[in-house]
């Protein structure tokens, strides 16, 4: 993309019908707003790469870094370690250096999707702290939390951006143990960041936009 050219955003519903299961996301609209107002920058997708997200972000002129933190955690730690949450500090540092290999202030946005929900508490907190350092001031982070009241263990979702207003979340893989989050605990979780904005969807999913 020509850095001098204004970014273009495909208007929702203008050309193509939405895929089945796509839903509107106000958090994504906020996140898109940050992307469209920014010069070409580094964006992180820590839920694993999806073609729709890749096209959307790179068409706006940004670079996309992709990694699936759940998969990476599964490779770096044993199942027992992840379930008990007893992780060595050095191993966590190594995991973060491998999975989010950026210097301080290098990224302008991060898509965390629902990954915080499925990481053990100490690891999730360490990832949040790492993102605080890697994101530059004013950067946005999008996170999703499944309904607290869900009785069955949810599966992690494959999430992709359909357009600037719509997301497609598809549960994939076996149900996983989740870390419970309430609005209050989410605020505490992101206490380092400048602001936390909540969006409740029709499916009772909590979407969050966190500003660095």
């Amino acid at each position: 993309m020509n850095p001098g050219a204004a970014p273009t955003v495909r208007k929702a519903g203008a050309a193509r019908p939405l895929p089945e299961g796509a839903r509107r996301s106000h958090a994504l609209e906020h996140f898109t707003g940050v992307l469209t107002r920014s010069e070409p920058m580094q964006v992180l997708d820590l839920g694993g790469i999806q073609q729709g997200t890749l096209d959307f972000v790179t068409n706006l002129g940004h670079r996309l870094y992709a990694e699936d933190l759940l998969r990476a955690a599964g490779a770096a730690f044993t199942r027992e370690q992840l379930e008990s949450g007893s992780l060595e500090e050095r191993a966590v540092e190594e995991f973060l250096a491998q999975s989010i290999p950026f210097p301080n202030g290098a990224a302008g946005g991060a898509l965390m999707w629902d990954r915080f929900h499925f990481l053990p508490a100490p690891l999730a907190q360490a990832v949040a702290a790492r993102l605080y350092r890697v994101l530059r001031p004013g950067a946005a982070l999008l996170a999703i939390f499944h309904p607290e009241a869900a009785k069955a263990q949810p599966s992690a979702c494959v999430c992709r951006i359909v357009d600037e207003q719509h997301l497609l979340m598809t549960p994939r893989g076996e149900p996983r143990r989740t870390q419970p989050f309430t609005p209050r605990s989410i605020e505490r979780f992101f206490h380092q960041f400048q602001s936390v904005k909540f969006f409740m969807t029709r499916e009772s999913v909590q979407e969050v936009i966190v500003r660095r």
């Binding site: 993309m1 790469i49 992709a66 990694e67």
Partner: protein, 191 residues
């Protein structure tokens, strides 16, 4: 009689030598490399093959398509051609090619002037630069993706305008420029 002629006319397109449809050309069956090549690579585009049991250590450069089904430990540079890393292929090193298609494993940065396709169940760790990156569901990719923008050629310009526009570019070329790539259009120089 009329019907028979009609039938012959109807049959004619079926025997045409039109290229295979895109969907057909993109299908891939692991053991069927010869069939794929026979469709896609016509007689003039036979691909070199690094077989399953072959291990290559060092840099590979060339001007023909390459299929890696074995292991390559080193950089691969095929600026005008296509690299295919087969299901059993494993590349440990940087890759530059016109097109890159990965069914196997690549651990290194990839750069393609045209498309890069990372197929389902492929594994790529490294940065990716291409004009058309395509990553299928259930492929594993870790790294940075950057899209190279290629401006489409302007066809509406008049020949005189094109010649005039080409002069500064041509003038900027060194006198002893390397031989032109046969695939690229000839430069227009003012006589």
């Amino acid at each position: 009689m009329w019907n028979r002629n009609k039938k012959e006319e109807d049959d004619t397109p079926m025997r045409s030598t039109a290229p295979a449809p895109e969907t057909m050309r993109d299908t891939y069956a692991a053991p069927a490399y010869p069939a794929r090549r026979s469709i896609e690579d016509a007689p003039t585009r036979a691909a070199a093959v690094i077989g399953k049991s072959v291990v290559v250590t060092g840099e590979i450069t060339g001007k023909e398509d390459l299929l890696v089904d074995g292991r390559v430990e080193g950089d691969i540079d095929l600026p005008e051609n296509r690299l295919t890393v087969g299901v059993g292929g494993h590349v440990e090193g940087g890759v530059k090619a016109r097109e890159i298609v990965v069914y196997g494993v690549v651990h290194g940065n990839m750069e393609a002037g045209e498309r890069v396709e990372i197929k389902k169940n492929a594994k790529v760790i490294g940065d990716l630069r291409a004009s058309r990156p395509v990553i299928e569901d259930e492929a594993y990719f870790k790294g940075n993706v950057e899209t190279i923008r290629v401006d489409p050629p302007k066809q509406a310009a008049r020949p005189a305008a094109v010649a005039a526009a080409a002069v500064p570019v041509a003038a900027a070329q060194p006198a002893a420029a390397p031989a032109a790539n046969p695939g690229t259009p000839p430069e227009i120089r003012r006589g």
